[in-house]
């Protein structure tokens, strides 16, 4: 293959990838740009058939990425006039944060046990963990509900947070990470007479830091989006997280809903950009069969 040909192939590749990237980014960009559009402008651009499907209304249909006039009123409305948005935002934080932190602690400990300690039935138990991870939430819905009821957690965040903390994904991911720590490191510490705690604190933990970061990111992604658990376990509208609340405000005030959506995805996107390499590393680790 000549250099010129390779150049042309590469150019085509890039053009193709740009098109795909554009398609993938389209909904996100549209959400962002629409959040700066007035309600009126949104209706004008998108509502094709509402005014009785008249021809004049149809002519206006156009998907616009750049607002005719940028307005911040939507954001003002969401942040200042609707305390509900902030309330639900913090609901989401209250649900997500304990799960992430708890999962990191529990996962690191158990991941260490599965990766670096020997005990009978270890791999079988791990397989059970793996299976549990793959089960949809609905499978254990009824007993989880009954257990939450027994523990007095019903209609409280505990009913969602505790199962979240003990979800096997954290254990799985950190076990994968710690499998990558050479046994020789551990042996060295043990020969020195240091116990498992030292091995854990001084070797496993520092080396697993990227794994913990990856877990935090992946768990954040998963739990920030949580829908099933709150709609089934929380009866009060006011306690629902943002994910559920947003789906409900979409009716009617779409301009406001777009602004709320942008605010909703902002922390996700910022943290993604911040910890992207950890996220990638975490995904790669999840794909390594060990």
């Amino acid at each position: 293959m000549t250099a010129a040909l390779r150049h042309i192939v590469t150019s085509f590749k890039v053009i193709f990838l740009v098109l795909i990237a554009a398609a993938i980014l389209f909904p996100v960009v549209l959400t962002a740009s629409n959040s700066f559009m007035s309600e009126d402008e949104i209706s004008r651009h998108y509502d094709a058939l509402n005014s009785g499907g008249s021809a004049s209304a149809r002519e206006h249909t156009a998907i616009r990425l750049i607002p005719e006039s940028v307005t911040l009123s939507q954001f003002g409305e969401v942040l200042l006039a609707r305390p509900k948005f902030l309330l639900h935002f913090w609901n989401s934080v209250k649900l997500t944060l304990p799960i992430i932190l708890g999962q990191a602690v529990v996962g690191t400990l158990a991941g260490f046990a599965f990766a670096k300690l020997a005990f009978p039935g270890r791999d079988k138990l791990f397989f059970v963990y793996l299976l549990a991870m793959l089960m949809p939430f609905q499978v254990t819905l009824v007993p989880n509900y009954l257990i939450a009821d027994k523990l007095g957690l019903l209609n409280s965040y505990g009913a969602i947070v505790f199962p979240g903390i003990f979800a096997s994904f954290g254990v799985f991911l950190l076990r994968q990470f710690m499998m990558g720590i050479p046994d020789a490191y551990m042996e060295a510490v043990k020969i020195d007479g240091a116990g498992y705690f030292r091995a854990f604190l001084h070797i496993a933990l520092p080396l697993a830091k990227p794994g913990i970061a990856a877990l935090i990111l992946l768990s954040f992604v998963d739990n920030w989006n949580m829908v099933e658990q709150p709609i089934l376990f929380l009866t009060e509208q006011i306690r629902q997280p943002l994910s559920v609340y947003l789906a409900n405000i979409a009716e009617g005030a779409r301009g406001v809903a777009f602004a709320a959506s942008v605010l909703y995805m902002t922390p996700m996107v910022l943290i993604f950009l911040y910890g992207e390499e950890h996220l990638v590393e975490g995904i790669q680790m999840s794909g390594i069969k060990g």
């Binding site: 200042l80 305390p83 902030l86 910022l270 911040y274």
Partner: protein, 356 residues
């Protein structure tokens, strides 16, 4: 790369700080734009039905005095609101015109008497002439003349009586002059009463107007204390004698009878009767009531724990009206310590957050 991370760290921090700040400020921001309401707890119990009012005493009966003739008023002996006894002189009329008529009538009588004499003489003459037809005719004429003279005599008598009795108008009853339609020197019209006198003997009464709902518990024959606007103040007992609907509807005219000496017409009388309705419930002012298809409702305030501290929300509470008076209703459907919205700075609707 390191710079990018630093920027992102800043942005994440800024984002959460901003939202946190807005959350903490949101109550304040909200507070400024929320409608302000004032609330009150309803009082429990039956409805106080207050009937009060003032009226001016009127006698039950008024004597109307008319002049006897078309005379000029010569002298008025009393003035309005004077208390008079039976027989007291009230007005002296100038009866000279009637006197003159009397003289004229007397003169005419004299003339007729002379005529009669003349006719008697003629008869004497005719009897002698043996004219029977002429005699009969003359006799009839003489009879007519005599009848005319009797009439004239009665007329004179009437006029004399008119002058002696009517020249001086006196009070037929004990009472108070309530109206005086005469001025000295001016003629008093015959058709209208020159003087009206409230008759003490018939008693006094006054009326007030009250809301029908408030008056619902009042009955004819009920006794009430009536305060009179006199120096020194005193109160007498009044009895409800009449309750009738006012033509406009929604209100009633209540008449009280007073039996007491020394009353005067026009005296201001005030009465205040408080009775309790039979129904029992929450008392709510009518002004806060609203109505929609489902009936009457009021807004009540409830407290909910918001993200930061308590927040207050109004909600529609439907009530059933058991009883009402002019400005208050007695209702069911409200908790005793529930607070209702009395006033709000802006129109509110169900579920609104408010401050107070």
């Amino acid at each position: 790369m390191q710079r990018r991370k630093k920027t992102l760290r800043w942005m994440i921090g800024l984002f959460f700080t901003l939202l946190l700040a807005l959350t903490f400020l949101s109550n304040t921001i909200q507070g400024m734009s929320l409608p302000k309401v004032s609330v009150e707890k309803p009082e429990t119990g039956g409805l106080d039905l207050d009937v009060s009012g003032e009226g001016f005493l009127q006698s039950a009966h008024t004597a109307q005095l008319f002049p006897e003739g078309d005379w000029k008023v010569e002298k008025i002996h009393i003035s309005k609101n004077d208390r008079v006894s039976q027989g007291d002189p009230l007005i002296t009329f100038d009866t000279s015109s009637t006197k003159r008529t009397l003289e004229d009538e007397k003169t005419r009588y004299e003339q007729e008497r002379i005529q009669l004499e003349k006719m008697a003489d003629q008869l004497k003459m005719l009897l002698r002439s043996d004219d029977t037809t002429g005699v009969d005719n003359l006799k009839r004429d003489i009879e007519m003349q005599q009848l005319d003279m009797q009439m004239q005599q009665r007329k004179i008598g009437d006029l004399q009586k008119q002058i002696t009795e009517g020249g001086m108008l006196t009070s037929p009853v004990y009472g108070v002059i309530t109206s005086l339609n005469a001025a000295e020197g001016a003629a008093a019209g015959r058709g209208q009463p020159v003087i009206e006198i409230a008759d003490d003997a018939s008693g006094y009464q006054f009326s007030i107007t009250a809301n029908s709902d408030d008056a619902a518990m009042l009955r004819i024959g009920d006794k009430a204390k009536v305060h009179l606007d006199e120096e020194p103040r005193r109160s007498v007992e009044g009895i409800i004698s009449e309750i009738e609907d006012e033509p406009e509807g929604g209100s009633k005219k209540i008449t009280f009878d007073l039996k007491d000496a020394n009353l005067q017409p026009g005296l201001k009388a005030a009465v205040s009767i408080t009775s309790q309705s039979k129904s029992f419930g929450m008392q709510i002012p009518k002004s806060v009531l609203e109505e929609d298809n489902n009936g009457y409702y009021i807004y009540t305030v409830s407290e909910k724990d918001g993200p930061l501290g308590a927040a207050y929300y109004v909600s529609k509470t439907y009530i059933t009206i058991k009883d009402e008076n002019g400005d208050t209703v007695v209702t069911d459907g409200l908790m005793p310590n529930e607070q209702y919205v009395k006033e709000s700075s802006e129109p509110i609707s169900d579920g609104d957050r408010v401050r107070y």
